[in-house]
Every structure is written in C-alpha cells, then in structure tokens.
C-alpha cells in the first residue's frame, strides 16, 4: 500500500522546520537551461580516481552551465556519475575564495591582503624557519587532486630551495599500501593491465571495495559486463559489509572484520592443494619470499599455509564463509580464462595493508592470472591524480619524480643533474610521512607548513589531536584552496586558487593514463593557478634565503603564461627529463599529443608516435609495452623490468593473518569502520555546495546491523553515540544488512563537529606503507535518543 509523502515524512521524523539553516544555492537553478551551451570544453573529472573524460559546457559569457561525458573516452565511454555531472555548479559559488587572506595570529580575524604581500609573507616565514630551525622545520602537504604540474613544482621547491624531503600528501591516506604492495610483489608501482580488461574477464574478484559508491562509472562497466554475460561472467564481492556493489555479485563473501588475510591464504591453500596453479608461470616468473632478503621455496610456502586450510579459515573468518565457499571461489579464480581483482580502501587503509595487497597479488601470480587479456591484479585509486601527480611526480617523502627513491644516492644524483643543481644539494634522508609530519607539527618542530588542496584537519585519523598542532601560534600554516574548510579555519594565510577547468594541467588516473585539462573558464576574483603561486613564492624564497641555487627550482618557469605556457613548461621538464627511461616514461605524452587524444595516454609511452596509439594497455608484455622489448633480458614474452626487483621476478609472499591496531575488548566491544557514500567527495567542501547532492545525503549516518540494533534497542534514524578511546560523536542510525554483526560503519564526509567521525579514529599505521588504518578500530555504541531534526553543515 502506498502512502502520501506527508505521511511518510511524519513517519521518518527528524523533520521539523525548526532550526534549519538553508543551503547557499550556487546560482539560479534554471540558468543552465536558459543560457545555452556555446562551447564544449574537454577535460577530466576531478572527483574520483577513475579518470572519466568530461566536457564542461560554457555559455556565450564563458560561464559553466552544463556537463557531459566524452563518448570516445576509453575510461567512461561518455558516462558520468552525479559528481561528474554537477561539479561545474560550484565554480561560480558565492563561497569561492577570491582574495588572499592573512592573520598574523590565529586568534585574529582574517584580513584581505594583496598577492604581493601574501607571497612575501609566505616566503619570509618559510625562509626564516629554514634558517633558524633547519630545513626539516618546513613541510608541504598536498593532494591527489592537485595537477601533476603543481605537485611536481611544489616538491621541487621543497627539495631544491628548502632542502627538505618533507613532501607528503593525502594519497598517503589512501593508496600508500597499494604502492607498497606493487613494489614488494611486482617490483614496480601501478597496475599491469587496464580498465579494458574488465570486458575481457570471466571472473571479477572485488575485495575491500565498494566500487558502486566510490568508483561508480567504472562499476557501471562491471555491471554492464555482468548483465551482458549473465552466465559467462562471475562476480565475487568479498567484504564484511554488504554494499551497493554486492547487488551485482554472484557470491558475497562476508567475513568478520579484519579476517581477509586468512581468507586469501585459504584460497591460496586450495589453489596448491588442488594443483590449480600455473606451474610454468611460477617457474618462469616467480619466486617465494618471507623477507626482503629471505628467499624460500614452494614447499616452505605450502608449509606456511597449513594454518589456513579452508576448514581452519572457516573458523577464523566467521560470517558466511565456509570451507566450501573458499574452495569454490579459489577454483573459479584459478580456472577462469581471465580473472581480474579490484580493491581499494578496505585493503589499503589497514595496519597490514601492504600484506593484504601482497596476498591478492599472490593469488594472481600462483594462477598466472596476469599479463593476459581479462586478467589483472588492479588497485583502484581514490583520487584523480594520486597516481599521476603524487606517486609518479615525487609527491611523497621517500620518492623523487619518476619513481626514484630518495634514499638511493644514484637516483638523487640523477635528479640533481637533471635539475641543474650541484650533487649533494638534495637531502639524503626521506622526510616525515604524514602521521609523523603532523606529530612534528604537534610538537612544534615544524614551524612552517603549506597545505595544498586538502583538509587534514578533517581527513586525518584522530583529527582533533592534530588540529591542536595546526592551531599552535608558533606553527605558520598556509592553505591553498577554493573554499573554506576545517583546515583553513586554522591557517595564517589562505591563498585562493583556480579550480579545475580554470587552469591547465594533467591528471593521471588508476590505469596509468595521463589526461590533459585545459583552461576553459576564468577563475573568480583574484584566484590564481597554483603553478603561478609556487613560481612566484619560489622566486621570493630564493631572495629571502639569498640562495642562487634555490632559484633554480622555479627559474625555467618564471614569466610564462600561467594559463598554458607555464604548466606546459613544467610538464615538459618533468616528462622529457625526469621520466626518461624510467618505468613511467611519459616522453611521448606531450601536450601536443594529449590535446589530440580523447582519453590521454597510458605509460610507458616513450615516443609521440607510440603515445598517439594510446600508449601501453598492458605493462611488461612484449608487443604491447615498448619497454618490455627495450628492457628485455631474455626471450620470454613477459619482462618484469620494474625498478624495485633486481631479479626481475614476481615475489610471492608468506604473509600470516594479523591483528588490527585496535581489536574490540570488553570496554569497546565492536569494530568501527568508515567509508564513502556515492554522492559526496571527501570532506564535502565541494559536493556539500551542490544542493541536489547535499539533499540526497545531507549528513553522516552510522550503519548498524539489525541484530546489533535489536540488542541495543536502536531503530532507524535514532541518534546513536559512537564512542572510542579518542572521543565521541553522535549521528543518526541506518539499520540495515550492511555491516556484519559486531561492526558498525560510519560515513566520513560530514564536517559538522558532532558528526565528524575521523575525530574518534585511531592513527595506527602500516609499518611499511605508513598508511593509517581508517577501516578498523574498536568502539562502543549506544542509543542517545529518538530521531532529531538535523542540519547539514559546511564551513563558510
């Protein structure tokens, strides 16, 4: 029986008109239809790691009024999610930052100042910190949403001018464990195959990924592949939480939180027990390891798996996992014509995230489900340019551009030579990784920090602890951003930047694909592209430091047009010099080529001629990857030439089941996990300003399993307190068969103080990758009240 909307609203409660604060609409909602599109401007979406190509429609006045997908693009074939469809709406939002803002003391109000003054202050503060407290008293914390040109230039200034490797960014929070996994298992970062393998696969193994919400347009390809081949394609979703992704799955493997390492070891056990492995692939390309320098044989590997027979794993894993299910899935995985695995934060954001990555790779190596059509071990990346800008462009404390390790003198010297600075100029020690960096901020050891295009005050685990450091009067903090955030609230200097499509630059998505977005819209007010900001800052910094060599960081780019010539010059330096003969060789992906391609170029692409074919769809395979031929050492068809494995082998790792950083106990008896919803992007500073999206998901919820809800008397929309050893938050409940019994799942996007879930998370991190364990900590929950009227909230 249907009910009226009014009746329904009364039932859902939480809905009185009292106290509601209206959202700031970006512009008249009918403008797009009325204005008409005069020009379509191609570029890449910036609201996840898929790399969808999108065109922004501008009207005769040059204002953005519409968006559409680019149908010729091999990433999205024209499809967009709601974020890609609507992000243009924030470009003219009245909350945009349009003038530099400064306050000497964090107790003062911000005052508008000129760019000249703002850049002088920033240069003075960083130069003074270096001179008085040493290079490591300065730091940069960037973003997987910054363009490659921006990340590259920031890290170059930090390293060449300030002589510190304190270069980090939010990708440390999302994919550092995937980097660690690829390097330790395959000797080279980033996936071997491409999205195009989805349509060639027979089995898709999804683990720790709610792809339907976090990568919706790529999920559409998985969904379409399944719907088109219902009897030929099997989808397996392994996750303690039943999610939107589970709707297309043939098998949902629901294990107790944190028990997936045992489950994957049990699949490997079955593969060996039933001789489902590819002996020739293993003999030709693989070795077994239990330490970086400890090689073992297959017999010892088999011995290590004896704790994980399917029957033993059934007991460890709980949930719906049975020995029969493990065997069935292992057989499907091994026997299919092509098995493709996808994972994301459920694997990476873990205390043993690198191990979890290794165990997925192990399954592919054992079964030879690599380097062939429809087979790959594919890490999904969260952000649009975490791969291209940060992983490849030198945006982390231990790496220089072109996948060079800071710690390797030979590789440092290469960078010094290519940048024209004396050998020895670059600091030999890696900088502070993210958590350590903000601990140093808390200690007051970092005196000047530049936060670019991200909001660590909200996105760090246990963020209240780190907000205290950012609020210190003796820590000078610059923020470059387009909107006010929880982090700009703590800054001394806020610099307004041009948004995507208001500047020119390259993004590199999950599948090694670099794509150009050119300026199509004028930035509002005095907002400037980051390349201009950093170039001008770098020039002043060299003056304040009285250091001729420091100037070399920005000298080649000074005075160039920031809308095109400047980012082009930066891209040219990076690709032609720093990626030459590296595994991410991008010399062929020039702006000239990228402008011609509807969907960019996949590296390696050493020449323009090859780049114009689209680049390398599958790494390491002769005939597909030009470097597999130029780097070839034998007559085998696959050449694993990655920089981290001198033996050119794939390493199958012995990795045991391991505890998380904080297991439930008598005081905190439940697991707390966190994640995204489809509508919102990260901390909602952008999507929270799109009325359609904010109304669809106006605040965070906590999902509670119906059995847990019944035990605790929690009903839908009741207000629930989540308490951990770090503190408490309160948010409404969704009672649903989502998380497994004993685990609650909270949405992390909400920036309202009372609902900001990262305040209560633990900052445990993986000892290898240093990626924090956002996915697991211990908590207790209790019903606080029935439904309440809530307000959506964004910092303004």
């Amino acid at each position: 029986m249907s009910v009226s909307r009014r009746d329904f609203i009364k039932k859902t409660a939480a809905l009185t008109a009292a106290g509601y604060v209206g959202m700031n609409l970006p512009f008249s909602a009918t403008e797009s239809e009325a204005a008409g599109v005069a020009k379509w401007n191609p570029g890449t979406c910036r609201l996840c790691g898929v790399g969808c190509r999108v065109e922004i429609g501008t009207n005769a006045a040059g204002r953005p009024v519409a968006a559409r997908g680019i149908t010729k693009s091999r990433t999205n074939f024209g499809y967009l999610c709601m974020k890609g469809m609507m992000f243009y709406k924030i470009m003219n939002h009245p909350d945009r930052l349009t003038k530099p803002l400064y306050r000497a003391s964090k107790k003062d109000k911000f005052q508008e100042i000129s760019w000249d003054k703002a850049l002088d202050i920033a240069a003075e503060k960083f130069a003074t910190a270096k001179k008085q407290y040493g290079p490591d008293s300065t730091a940069y914390y960037g973003s997987g949403q910054a363009q490659t040109e921006e990340t590259y230039l920031f890290q170059k200034v930090m390293r060449v001018a300030l002589q510190t490797n304190n270069v980090e960014g939010n990708p440390r929070l999302c994919m550092a464990s995937a980097v660690g996994g690829y390097l330790t298992s395959m000797g080279a970062d980033e996936p071997i195959g491409s999205y195009g393998d989805i349509e060639k696969s027979s089995v898709i193994f999804l683990i720790g990924s709610n792809m339907a919400s976090a990568h919706p347009v790529l999920f559409r390809r998985v969904m379409r592949h399944k719907l088109n081949n219902k009897d030929k394609v099997t989808i397996i979703n392994a996750d303690p939480r039943v999610s939107d992704t589970s709707r297309v799955a043939d098998i949902h493997m629901q294990f107790d939180t944190n028990k997936d390492l045992a489950m994957m070891n049990a699949m490997a056990y079955t593969i060996i027990e039933e001789k489902l492995y590819d002996k020739k692939f293993i003999d030709d390309y693989c070795v077994f390891r239990k330490g970086k320098k400890v090689k073992v044989d297959m017999a010892e590997y088999w011995k290590s798996l004896q704790d994980y027979s399917p029957e033993k794993a059934e007991k460890i894993c709980g949930g719906n996992i049975t020995a029969g299910m493990i065997r069935k899935v292992a057989r499907l995985f091994a026997k299919s014509d092509g098995t493709m695995s996808f994972w994301c934060m459920g694997i990476n954001q873990r205390k043993r995230g690198v191990w979890a990555n290794n165990l997925i790779h192990n399954l592919h190596m054992l079964t030879g489900q690599l380097c062939k059509p429809g087979a790959d071990s594919f890490s999904l990346t969260g952000q649009p340019n975490a791969c291209g800008g940060v992983r490849e462009g030198g945006g982390l404390c231990h790496i220089l551009p072109g996948h060079r390790l800071v710690a390797k003198k030979k590789l440092r010297n290469q960078a010094e030579d290519l940048w024209g600075v004396p050998r020895g100029r670059l600091a030999p020690k890696p900088g502070y990784h993210t958590i350590k960096m903000f601990r140093k901020v808390n200690e007051g050891a970092i005196k000047a920090i530049w936060i670019n295009c991200t909001s660590p005050a909200q996105s760090l685990p246990d963020c209240d602890k780190y907000r205290k450091g950012m609020a210190r009067e003796d820590v000078f903090m610059v923020c470059t951003d387009i909107f006010p955030t929880r982090t700009t609230e703590l800054a001394n200097l806020i610099l307004p930047t041009a948004f995507h499509f208001e500047k020119t630059g390259v993004y590199g998505c999950s599948e090694r694909r670099s794509q150009l977005t050119q300026k199509a819209v004028a930035a509002p007010g005095e907002a400037k592209p980051e390349t201009w900001i950093v170039t001008e800052w770098g020039k002043r910094l060299a003056e304040k430091l009285n250091d001729r060599i420091a100037l070399k960081a920005v000298q080649p780019f000074l005075g160039k047009d920031p809308d095109f010539a400047q980012p082009k010059a930066i891209w040219d330096e990076y690709t032609q010099k720093l990626t030459k003969h590296r595994d991410n060789d991008l010399r062929g992906a020039t702006y000239t080529v990228l402008k011609q391609m509807p969907d960019g170029v996949q590296w390696p692409a050493p020449t323009e001629k090859f780049a114009l074919t689209g680049g390398t769809t599958m790494k390491f395979v002769k005939g597909l990857d030009p470097m597999a031929t130029t780097e070839s050492k034998d007559d085998k068809p696959f050449q694993f030439y990655g920089p981290a494995h001198k033996d050119r082998k794939l390493w199958i790792w012995l990795r045991p089941q391991a505890e998380s950083g904080e297991e439930p106990d008598a005081n905190y008896p439940m697991y707390l996990s966190t994640g995204r919803v489809v509508d919102h992007w990260h901390t909602t500073s952008m999507t929270g300003r799109i009325p359609e999206i904010m109304r669809s998901n106006p605040w965070a919820y906590v999902e509670v399993n119906p059995k847990d809800a019944q035990k605790m008397g929690i009903k839908p929309n009741d207000m629930v307190e989540i308490e951990t050893r770090r503190g408490k938050v309160v948010m409404p409940a969704k009672v649903k068969v989502g998380p497994i019994e004993g685990t609650v799942f909270a949405y992390w996007h909400d920036m309202a103080e009372e609902r900001m879930i990262n305040k209560v998370l633990k900052d445990t991190f993986d000892p290898g990758s240093k990626e924090p364990e956002f996915k697991i900590c211990a908590c207790k929950i209790r019903r606080v009240s029935g439904p309440k009227a809530l307000k959506p909230f964004i910092v303004t």
Partner: protein
C-alpha cells in the same frame, strides 16, 4: 462598515496563508511537486518515493540506473529546478552519443520505458 470588515477579513486570510506556508517552497504551481519545508527537502527523493510511488521506485531500483547508483535528481533535478519529465539535457550528460543517431523529434523514454529503460 461592510467594506472595512471585508478588508480586514482579506488581510487576515493573507496573514494566515503566509503563516501556513512559512518555511515552504517548491510549490506545486512551479514544479508539480507538493510544497515542502526546507527540512522536508532533506529526505532523499528515493527514500520518500519508495513509499509514495513504489512502482516507479522498484522500476528504477531493479534496473541499470538503480544498480548503477544513478539518482533521481540527476534526471529530474531538485526542488528549484524540478522536472517531472526530464529535459533531454540531463540524458545528454551520459548518453551524448545516442542523442544524434536516434529518431529525431522523439524523446528517449518514448522507446525506452521511463525508469526501467527496457526497450518498449
């Protein structure tokens, strides 16, 4: 005197009307949607329509747009720009390649049933 009373009555009615509609917008006259308060508008379309138009909801939920997390507002807009029948511009956002080569003058849903998108 009667004239004065009439004026008072009309003014009182206007005040009552304003009081009744305070906090509400998106009137039926503009959008075809019942008027809602700002707080009411924070119920996701799909949550309300699961109850109020269950057939339409189920058609959406069980088919590609529902599976693929394409939300109501992507085609129909929100209260300020709500369209009961979507504008082709919203289809164009994802299906630009289909806009040119299909029969001219026809809307997508004339051949592909609205919400389920099965071919008729």
């Amino acid at each position: 005197m009667k004239k004065k009373l009439l004026i008072v009555a009309v003014l009182a009615a206007l005040v009552a009307l304003v009081a009744c509609t305070a906090g509400q917008s998106g009137s039926s006259a503009e959008s075809g949607h019942p008027a809602l308060s700002e707080q009411d508008k924070l119920v996701a379309c799909r949550d309300c329509h699961q109850q109020t138009t269950p057939k339409v909801y189920q058609e959406w939920f069980d088919n590609t747009h529902g599976l693929g997390n394409v939300r109501c507002f992507q085609c129909h807009g929100t209260f300020e720009n709500l369209k009961k029948t979507p504008d082709l511009l919203s289809c164009n956002a994802c299906h630009a390649d289909k806009m040119g080569d299909h029969r001219s003058g026809m809307n997508c849903w004339e051949c592909h049933s609205a919400h389920s998108f099965a071919a008729k």
